[in-house]
Symmetry: C2
Subunit: 300 residues, 2 copies
DNA sequence: CTGAAAGCGCTTACAG
DNA sequence: CTGAAAGCGCTTACAG
């Protein structure tokens, strides 16, 4: 189909090279949803290191479907890829892959997995976010969680609960089941309204759900931040286009991609890697949070 | 590195298969910016057809850099991919690829290129958008354009101008150089303010720039849609989370991906394809446009 | 119908 | 130091 020799010169046949060298020069990046803007900056970091190392990256989109995940992992068995970066929080079935297949988990760690991990310290970040809301004078702070069974959900809930407990606010702990999508946040609002002691602040599992909570609250006749302080998590690019601009936790997504790719390269070179590698996060204070004293009377 | 035989069974060696068959079973998808949500739904359509046909898709992110584009095209020369879907609006340099390399352009067509194209009829969609604003009573309608040298920009400008001319509003044609990013829209506002005959409506090259225009207008003390009707293009998922919800043109992005992949499959099978293939678009009327008569007095 | 052999285009260990 | 040969794991055309 292709002439190896064209006007502009020669190009090695990758298939022959792969066969002879027994490696593909390709890294498999597995993520649950390519349309989620959270991943694109991580991808960008991965790509830049890969390009520099003359490695190709192959993106596998699981769409959160286990069967697709297995299909994608085939690339590791049939030699199309030499190693993988797992962003989907799921470990490959035991025995499916050769032992010592180089793999690194990113962002969502896998509980009990020996795989090296690169990401944000979610528990610490959630702890700090909650403490930040407490420092604004809020005492009744609700947490709209991520999806069940997700490690990010577990870590962020635990950081939230820890901060509440330490501040003597155990009785005010209020976790509302949410999810990572706008709609999940919007739907969480009715549960929020039903709380016996009405919260004055809401810490959400991510930016999308925080935006949903805000729109839901507005739909119920409330104003953010006047009536409720709301905080997101991730600092996706849209969070400052959103109105009001969202207070959130910034994750160093590009650097996470870079470090994870470097860790994988080390593994592929037979070296060890430290784990977990946590990159610094920080609170981005914008317009959806306010000191409690600044609140006006809530319309009833 | 990999044992062909593992506990769960055998997996063919792709490299050997590729070498022997002289094809990779891989499609190269070239796009300028993977983080742009506009592309993700197109990708989803491409992926679904590819999965069904047991083809692998390889994503190449040019980042709008010509050198990266050339690197990515190498995959077509070295046998890593059998054909390509071009979403970046740039033709491969003549002579670089073997003749008859199967390729289809998506979304942004390439002027003068013989490659088959699948997308939206941008001129018609822009024409209809402008006519919609005219039907609301607006006469002074500005157009914030896309980036120079982009075919989408050319097509949308031309549809806008055509509608204005046909409505006898040639004298009111007002094109402001913009771009496809939020910031471009925001920056276009000062030029908008400087127009001798102040526009009452703004048709923007895409949703992001429309959101930028709206925030910019708000920053200048105006209200959308009361003082200005603003319209976007694309109907990205964020356009209904944005406040006020954005009136825009919906493109059938998923279907565009599906049709483009099918067209490429036809080419690879030695068949002909019709071109261009335009998928239906439609106006999504939301909260950023209002009849002119509904306007209040503009604060001066 | 079945099974052994050739050959895809590389890389690398080896002979000269 | 140089150059010819072996072999990676498949597929397929061919011999039996």
């Amino acid at each position: 189909m292709f002439d190896a020799v064209t006007e502009t010169g020669y190009s090695v046949n990758t298939a022959a090279q792969m066969l002879r060298r027994n490696r593909s020069g390709t890294i498999l990046v597995i993520l649950p949803d390519i349309s989620n803007p959270f991943f694109s900056e991580i991808l960008s970091g991965i790509e830049n290191v890969a390009t520099h190392e003359k490695l190709t990256i192959l993106i596998g989109n699981t769409n959160s479907e286990p069967e697709r995940f297995l299909n994608i992992l085939e690339n590791l068995r049939n030699g199309r890829a030499d190693g993988a970066l797992l962003l989907n929080g799921v470990a490959p079935p035991v025995g499916m892959l050769p032992e010592h297949t180089p793999m690194v988990t990113i962002s969502e760690s896998i509980a009990g997995s020996p795989l090296p991990h690169v990401g944000t310290d979610n528990e610490a970040a959630a702890y700090e976010s909650t403490r930040y809301l407490i420092s604004l004078g809020h005492k009744s702070i609700a947490h709209v969680t991520g999806p069940d069974g997700n490690q990010l959900t577990t870590d962020r809930r635990s950081g939230y609960a820890k901060a509440m407990r330490e501040a003597g606010l155990s009785d005010n702990i209020c976790e509302i089941r949410g999810g990572f999508e706008f709609q999940n946040g919007k739907e969480a609002v009715s549960a929020l309204m039903r709380q016996p002691t009405k919260p004055t602040a809401v810490f959400c599992a991510n930016d999308e759900s925080a935006m949903g909570v805000i729109r839901g609250l507005e739909g119920a006749g409330y104003n953010v931040p006047r009536d409720y302080s709301v905080m997101g998590f991730d600092n996706v690019s849209f969070s400052h286009i959103f109105s009001p601009e969202l207070t959130t936790i910034h994750q160093a997504r590009y650097e996470i991609g870079v470090k994870a790719m470097q860790a994988l390269l080390a593994l592929m070179g037979g070296q060890e890697t430290e784990s977990p590698i946590f990159l610094p996060h920080k609170i981005i204070e914008r317009s959806t949070t306010l000191p409690l004293t600044g609140r006006k009377v809530v319309p009833e």
